[in-house]
Subunit: 138 residues, 2 copies
């Protein structure tokens, strides 16, 4: 299936992206000519991973009838210091809040996403370690 | 260098990301339980590529004293039909608008980004073909 995204230059280092009426801005830090008006493009690589697996997990848990009160996904990653500055690892921390949450089902949902459904993880795993961790907050 | 991003579950399939005061929403299509309130997470993989190389190119052209009136970056990509649905190629189209734009300098800027600076391209090139194309609009 063919897909496409595009961004338009605004000025200086700022670009705008738009899809289905939703917009965001990319901008660089002031020390490299930007004005900090938006997101760093590279961050979007890790937001893609967080969002892709988070949607899988919440939808699998719904099918398992596991009720979650709050859910938060963080991705910690290692970035090289030298050009081209790029990510070399991703560690995904899934934090759930709820009553008597069943760890086995949470693990199953996370594993299904990582092994079968998350197409972002599929790509990144080929070039860097992608690890996961589950935390429960009562 | 360690970096981190995170998203918070809102409800249904919607999540919110926030960095330095900037926000965006991820949401799924209605046919998979979402309400189309935001971006698809996977798209962010290709926005990351577009933004990363676009910022390189505009900043290299500035150093070369090439004046561009308008600049647009599109990424066309191929997505598998089967789970895990993932990208298998990326074609970046750089469209410049301006007077008497020097193609050799535009090419040099794009090549420098692809070969030396863009850390998103660096990662994706290891797992899929990443190609480029330059278009000039008078």
């Amino acid at each position: 299936m063919k897909t496409s995204v595009s961004i338009n230059w605004l000025d200086k280092m700022a670009f705008e992206g738009e899809a289905d009426g939703h917009k965001f801005i990319f901008d660089a830090d002031p020390q490299v000519g930007g004005e900090g008006r938006g997101f760093r493009p590279k961050q979007f690589m890790m937001y893609a991973l967080a969002g892709c697996t988070a949607m899988d997990v919440i939808s699998i848990l719904k099918k398992m009838r596991v009720e979650v009160e709050a859910f938060h996904v963080e991705v910690e990653s290692e970035l090289t210091e030298e050009h081209p500055k790029h990510y070399t690892s991703a560690h995904i921390i899934f934090t759930f809040k709820g009553k008597d949450l069943p760890m086995d089902k949470l693990e199953k949902a996370v594993n299904l996403s990582e092994e079968r459904y998350c197409g972002v993880s599929t790509v990144y795993k080929k070039v860097m370690p992608v690890t996961t961790e589950i935390r429960i907050e009562e």
